[in-house]
Chain length 375, copies 2
């Protein structure tokens, strides 16, 4: 199963978007998830939601916020905890809210699944229940990074689905990232960069040099612009929309950036609390400081998107509050409306064709032209 | 040659510390290097400096600042440019100021070499002229990262000397980082962390799990504390002093942090320029904002230190101004006074002994116990 007919629920018209939401996994419990749902549904009342979790616990939460009309409960009593290993969850996860939420996407009852549970377990279960799109060897998590671009963000992938990525994976990430930039951020012709330790072509690991060549060759037909190598200092740069890297480097980079922002935010607070004069200043600049805080607010960028599966999964932070949870739900609804999963599958399929063309051009005439993206 | 007698110039008493300085390689030209020297020598007048570069150009610069008494010129007319490839410089670099500056350390005329030239070329030439310390397979660059620790910094290595590092290299980095923390930052019992995508022991690449075991075993005898895996978010953490990783990840992390700090600094400036009220506030908070800027000032942390060579090299930023250049020179003088190069070599030699002990304990009695650190 790679592509869907336009009649499928994945490309449903605005009125009938259905999201599948895992009620459990938030650090603050299911009431936080329901609070986020209420916030989201107030802003986007056309969406219908399948909410997975223990019915007895969730019924009063929904009733209190009068969400019964828009939210349908799906009873699932098991819960995946933050400490469960992915391998355990794959063996014994049936009956959990996470498993149930993914199965609604598998069964095409919902277009996108949203969960704030354990990332490793969610990716393992998603691979098991949704299966990889044909042509994708390693699915990726796409994260958002505050930037000076008009959308306010750059996309980074892989943010940590897999600690490894070879040259073909990196090409696939470029294509999937392009698709996400178009459908998630509305960027018509995304600019893609490959993360490296220098911008010169002789720098970096061997697989990066090959990936540079592969991505460069795919760019014209896949309708993105390849800006070549980018360095860590350009994560927030305006000259790129999508930054491609392996999941180890991507995870370290994202967390380093978050840590740096936290450190500087703390330094700033201390600076403004230091003297009576600076405390007065912080009152005067209250609106400006609030605007600054909003601009850097990680809750606005909540939602790592799993790419390369037959169905879309949005991972919300475990520590997400109602605002952050609502942001993840808005992103999920946007991706559902754009028919994202189908478009991404089509893009990866076209990559296989591209690789095949390249293979044919390079191969001896009597050799079979194998698809690089399938290996 | 691994260790030096205490009589050598490397452990010279305070009065006779000699630094070897490459006058070329600064984006702003040799006048900036001389300005940094003047600033440094005013604060630390006991130091003597060998300054390498074109004599005709440097003589008037020194005369203008009356530095002839403390600075001896060594004529070298060639210059390594930012665009020269390391391989070219290794073949044709003789006669350049960089080569000449390294040779003063090689010949034991100076204890530490300082250069703001091309990093790749400097590392290649340093390996060629100074040679690796016995037991070190891959030298590393140690960078400083602003943190909440009393010293104001955490140490990160490798910051980009080599894009690869295996388990034995990572152990060596832990030992070299410990030695640098002790001699450069004055931390008696450094806490060492290994950078990974999660803190659980089952996470990450295979070589990281082995390195975890090796470093953990070496910690008691090498007198550092191993805190285990740390994540990118902990780069500035107070629970660690030395963060060990491969040069690819380290380079991306450092540059990502720098880029994030720049982005937020820019956002902050914009926030305070936005309204008349916030502009008044920024005037009121002038002292606090200046203090904040100083705390985040990358010039204070100028100086990547090359570790694992027979002699110490401090790499200053090419864009360093006089303040930053002076900071790199102060760091160099501190390392020279502590006899750092000898101490580091002794530490790595003890690691070879440690690995041998471990090898003997594990090996069959009739097998030769080979040193892991030598492979």
């Amino acid at each position: 199963m790679t592509t869907q007919s336009p009649e499928s629920s994945m490309t449903a018209p605005p009125g009938s978007v259905v999201l599948s939401v895992d009620a459990m996994g938030s650090d603050a419990g299911p009431s936080m998830v329901v609070a986020g749902l209420a916030k989201f549904l107030k802003a986007d009342p056309e969406v219908r939601v399948l909410l997975h979790g223990p019915k007895a616990e969730l019924t009063p939460l929904l009733a209190r916020r009068r969400l019964e009309g828009q939210v349908t409960l799906v009873d699932a009593s098991g819960v995946v905890s933050m400490h469960d290993k992915p391998s355990q969850v794959m063996r014994r996860g049936k009956g959990t809210s996470m498993w149930s939420a993914l199965d609604s996407v598998r069964e095409r009852e919902a277009a996108v699944c949203v969960s704030c549970g354990n990332t490793g377990a969610l990716m393992a279960l998603a691979m098991l229940r949704l299966r990889k799109v044909e042509g994708v060897n390693r699915p990726a998590i796409a994260g958002l990074w505050p930037s000076r671009n008009p959308s306010g963000y750059n996309i980074l992938l892989d943010a940590g689905a897999d600690i490894r990525a070879d040259q073909d994976d990196l090409l696939t990430y470029a294509l999937m990232g392009t698709s996400y930039a178009r459908n998630g951020l509305g960027i018509e012709r995304p600019r893609v960069g490959l993360l490296n330790v220098g911008v010169e072509e002789h720098k970096g690991r061997a697989e990066l040099k090959v990936a540079h060549e592969l991505i460069s060759r795919a760019a014209p037909r896949a309708e993105f612009e390849f800006v070549g190598f980018v360095e860590g200092s350009e994560m927030a740069s305006e000259r790129v929309d999508v930054i491609v890297t392996d999941g180890f480097t991507g995870n370290v980079a994202l967390k380093t950036g978050e840590g740096t922002a936290q450190l500087l935010g703390g330094f700033m607070r201390e600076a403004f609390m230091k003297t009576p004069l600076s405390r007065i200043a912080s009152l005067l600049a209250y609106t400006s400081i609030r605007r600054l805080r909003q601009r850097m607010d990680p809750r606005r960028a909540n939602g790592g998107v799993f790419l390369g599966l037959n169905g879309t999964v949005v991972k919300s932070h475990g520590s997400a509050d109602a605002t952050a949870m609502a942001a993840a739900l808005h992103l999920a609804a946007k991706l559902a409306r754009s028919g994202f999963a189908d478009r991404l599958a089509a893009r990866v399929a076209s990559a296989a064709a591209l690789a095949q063309d390249a293979g044919e051009a390079e191969a001896a005439p009597d050799e079979p032209a194998t698809s690089k993206a399938d290996t």
